[in-house]
């Protein structure tokens, strides 16, 4: 008499799930199809990391790097970017006020005038130790400054990405 094949319930489930999928995948020219897709459908844009770090934010207006000197930009040479994406993580429970400023510079990199053009402002009300995200749609400025203020000091982690649009061939 033949010995019965012993198989656990988990192994049986693996066989049932894996067998039909492997049958479908066998003979599919996956790498070649992927290469063709890349050749004919290049990406339309990509996100570029401009800055990542953290700062302690208090009751004075500071940028996301912690700099409270208003004439200084948070990021420069941003003319080519059509959007900015600011994601952050705030450690405290107090609301975080923000304002986004922008300006243009001349060919030597000097601002055309003092001050900033206000793009947007608002309040981040997420609970402590949660992520938040803000999309800055007014692109193609030369320099940006993102300022924060908090009623009680808290650490804010930030990551600033910029969208580079590829031009159609």
């Amino acid at each position: 008499m033949q010995e019965p094949i012993r198989i656990t319930r988990r192994e049986m489930l693996k066989c049932i799930l894996a067998a039909p999928l492997s049958a479908v995948l066998t003979g599919l020219p996956a790498p070649r199809a992927h290469a063709q897709l890349d050749e004919f459908s290049p990406p339309e844009w990509e996100w570029v990391l401009l800055w990542e770090g953290r700062a302690t934010i208090d009751n004075a207006w500071r940028d996301i790097k912690g700099n409270n000197a208003n004439p200084f930009a948070t990021v420069s040479r941003t003319t080519n970017y059509s959007q900015l994406l600011w994601t952050g993580y705030k450690m405290g429970g107090v609301n975080l006020e923000y304002r986004v400023l922008a300006r243009s510079v001349d060919f030597s990199g000097m601002p055309l005038a003092s001050g900033w053009f206000p793009i947007g402002q608002g309040v981040i009300t997420t609970p402590p130790q949660r992520w938040f995200r803000l999309m800055i749609n007014e692109g193609h400025w030369d320099e940006y400054r993102i300022e924060l203020r908090s009623a009680s000091p808290q650490i804010v982690h930030s990551r600033l990405l910029a969208r580079w649009d590829y031009l159609p061939k």
Partner: protein
């Protein structure tokens, strides 16, 4: 990678009641910029020193004449930043940007956005 946005102009203009373009050309037939067919949008940013509004006219065309016109006003206060986004109704090789208004200085920059 090719740039999506290119600076076309940075400069300062003494504005008066007579309409002149950004290069101080008063002849209305002369273009301010040529070879502009690649641009979809012009972003005009800057600061004006006076409180009075500035009237501007943007014309697009070619050597056969102007084909479209867009007018507007910059209403910001003295020494305040402004930004005007001019979307091209049609791709044209020539562009002319004229400004007129009460006497004041205008320091501005124009960036052409491709695509």
């Amino acid at each position: 990678m090719q740039s999506a946005a290119e600076p076309l102009y940075t400069g300062e203009l003494q504005v008066g009641n007579a309409s002149v373009d950004l290069l101080r050309q008063s002849d209305p037939a002369l273009p301010t910029f040529v070879n502009c067919r690649a641009y979809r949008v012009l972003l005009w940013t800057g600061v004006k020193t006076g409180n009075a509004p500035l009237q501007y006219t943007v014309r697009g065309g070619d050597q056969h004449g102007w084909q479209w016109t867009h007018t507007g006003a910059i209403q910001t206060g003295a020494n305040q930043w402004f930004r005007v986004a001019i979307k091209m109704p049609r791709r044209t090789a020539w562009l002319r940007i004229e400004v007129a208004g009460a006497t004041q200085r205008l320091r501005s920059k124009i960036v052409g956005v491709r695509g």
